[in-house]
Amino acid sequence: MTRILLTGNRAAAWGARLARADYLPAFPITPQTEIIETIGSWIDSGEMDCRMATLESEHSMITAAGAAAATGARVFTATSSQGLLYGMEMIYTVAGWRAPFVLVNVSRGLASPLTLEPDHNDVLATRDSGFLQIHCATCQEVLDSILMAYRLGEDARVRLPVIVNLDGFYLSFTREPVETPDPAAVDGFLPPYDPENVRFRASAPLSQAVVVLGGSPYSYFRYESHLAALNALEAHEEIAEEFARTFGRTYGALDTYRTEDAEIVFVMMGSFATKAREAVDRLRQAGRPVGCVRPRLLRPFPEEGLRRALAGKRGVAVIDQNISMGKGGVLYGELASALYGLGQAAPVLVSFIGGLGGRDISAEEFYEMAAVTRSAAEQGTAPPPRLLYTLDELREVRKLQAIAHVERQGLGEES
């Protein structure tokens, strides 16, 4: 076991290497490319025994990943943002094959307008696909979650593909100390995959019957996938326990921080949640009992755990780094449904949208969200959802709009 500085991307590549992935279908996209470049260089140097294939699009890449998984190979692939969306048809399709593999998504906001920096609308677009989702907050967690994701996806109770998500820039290009586990220990934790009846073989052509006409068989298959995804909660708990025993790091479906005696709790996903932790420490220094809950698993959604962690709290600030147009924050909606029916024990939920397209969230904003949530709890009603956006930011936009106006005038589009 050695502790070295790794970017989130390289940590992901290490995860694939230690998991002894057999096959890597690849297509480049910022900010993910460093993952496939790193694995490619290890294959070249003989440090990793893996077959890499460069495909002509993410649609083909995800098809290749699913097809290879259906031969019983251990498959790793990675993409980001527009790439994930380009492969979306196959994301849903391969999940239905019930052939597990791991796809790393490096979150990046979606067009339009185009950006490179992170938010979670890309990965959330796959929410209902049948892929399980693990969201990471540190580079160490990226590596560890990939190892756990193979165990989870390959578990006989589950057998579904898994997306491991990390934020672009904030993790992908950021180096942090990461412990790379001993390969022999990983082999013990993650033995070769037993594909059971999944057995496509070269030179033995078969076709897989996947067309059903009529809603009845269709409903059966779809609901079975749902039940398998739900089973992943129990499976994850066991796997996490074994992981902790083997490697000394504990990962629950929820990452809870100083919540036991907290009255106000931040709930958010991804790497920005470590900023929330920092704010929790400072708020505690100032005498405010605040905590933080970070769902690592988004699918399956750990509803029972959230109820346990949040029942009896006074207020919850849900910080969504995504937006569903015409509804609001996705996590807010998910959490509200999970907490429905708690009666007196239900905390007041306050919805915040922040960090879109990598827009930073400052320490002061965390403090303010805690204050707003506290006063909402005292009044017993939540204010309307709030976008984290300052007057200065609007002024900047106004400047750009002034330029746009002049341009349009110049083109005669406007007087």
Partner: protein, 295 residues
């Protein structure tokens, strides 16, 4: 700068610090201005993203200072130490930028091409010394680790510059003070606003303009200038023009390649690609001085 941040990050890590280092860049890579940051602490680091209140700011290319888009002065506080890789005296920068905090300069390595390549290592060495908590030995090991794959010669050359800069700054060791975090009692409230609805004619992300890339003078990014030696250019099949990522090399009626210096960003791809090696790289500062000003 990415390399410099990694050298500094690794040196801190080797001396027992928790570390976070990261570069920031947009869609443009080669030749575009970029910055990188390093956080270090004795405790695990939870903070993330761009540093809002840096304790030390290092500018490797002093021509970026006056460019607002480069934002090199962002977050500079009264106690932030500013180190500029520059020929000019610290007092000149202090006056010019109207700064209260300490300013230091590292005599510029940007004068000739040979030295420019080592600016990152020199900055990292200087920074390590200024922090006062990183040993010379860790700085040396960090350079070996980060640059090792590039070969012994590169390591030796960078080591020489980095350690020279480390020694040069030794007199200022420890001048960088660890800033305090914003307290949760008595902080400045964010000026949040409720974003108003606006008509799609205003709120759609569309600016219609023709030939906008002409307006962006990417030539200002250049630290090295490619110059074609027409006595050696054999007008091949205009490899330079085909490879230039910014379409900054045109071909005139006589079939001669011509570089558009307003837009050549100085990536040096043409220099590397020209089959008869007819394109030379000259330090921009020297070229501009010879002409009496920047293009």
């Amino acid at each position: 700068m990415k390399t410099a941040s990694r050298i500094l990050g690794t040196a801190l890590f080797l001396d027992g610090f928790e570390v976070q280092d990261a570069p920031r860049y947009g869609a443009e890579r080669r030749g575009a201005p970029l910055f990188a940051y390093v956080r270090a602490s004795r405790q695990p680091i939870n903070e993330r993203g761009v540093i809002r209140r840096p304790d030390l700011v290092i500018v490797a290319d002093d021509t970026l200072v006056p460019m607002p888009a480069a934002g090199v002065m962002a977050g500079l506080g009264d106690f932030t130490v500013l180190l500029v890789n520059s020929q000019e005296a610290p007092s000149v920068w202090k006056d010019r930028l109207n700064l209260k905090g300490p300013v230091l300069t590292l005599p510029a390595t940007a004068e000739d091409r040979q030295e420019l390549r080592f600016a990152g290592a020199a900055c990292a060495g200087a920074a390590a010394a200024l922090l006062g908590v990183v040993s010379r030995g860790a700085t040396e090991r960090a350079i070996r680790e980060e640059l090792g794959p590039l070969g012994a010669e590169v390591v030796a050359a960078n080591l020489e510059r980095a350690l020279a800069a480390f020694d040069l700054m030794a007199g200022h060791a420890g001048c960088v003070q660890e800033g305090t975090e914003v307290s949760a009692s008595g902080y400045r409230h964010p000026e949040w606003i409720d974003l108003p609805f606006e008509d799609a004619r205003v709120a759609a992300p569309a600016i219609h303009g023709a030939a906008t890339s002409v307006e962006v003078k990417t030539g200002l990014w250049r630290t090295m200038r490619p110059v074609i030696d027409y006595s050696r250019c054999n007008r091949c099949w205009w490899v330079c023009s085909s490879f230039c990522p910014d379409s900054a090399i045109g071909v005139n009626a006589e079939g001669r390649p011509q570089i558009d210096y307003e837009h050549c960003k100085g990536c040096m791809i043409c220099v590397a690609q020209c089959p008869p090696h007819a394109i030379e790289a000259i330090a921009e500062r020297a070229a501009a001085a010879a002409e009496g000003g920047r293009p």
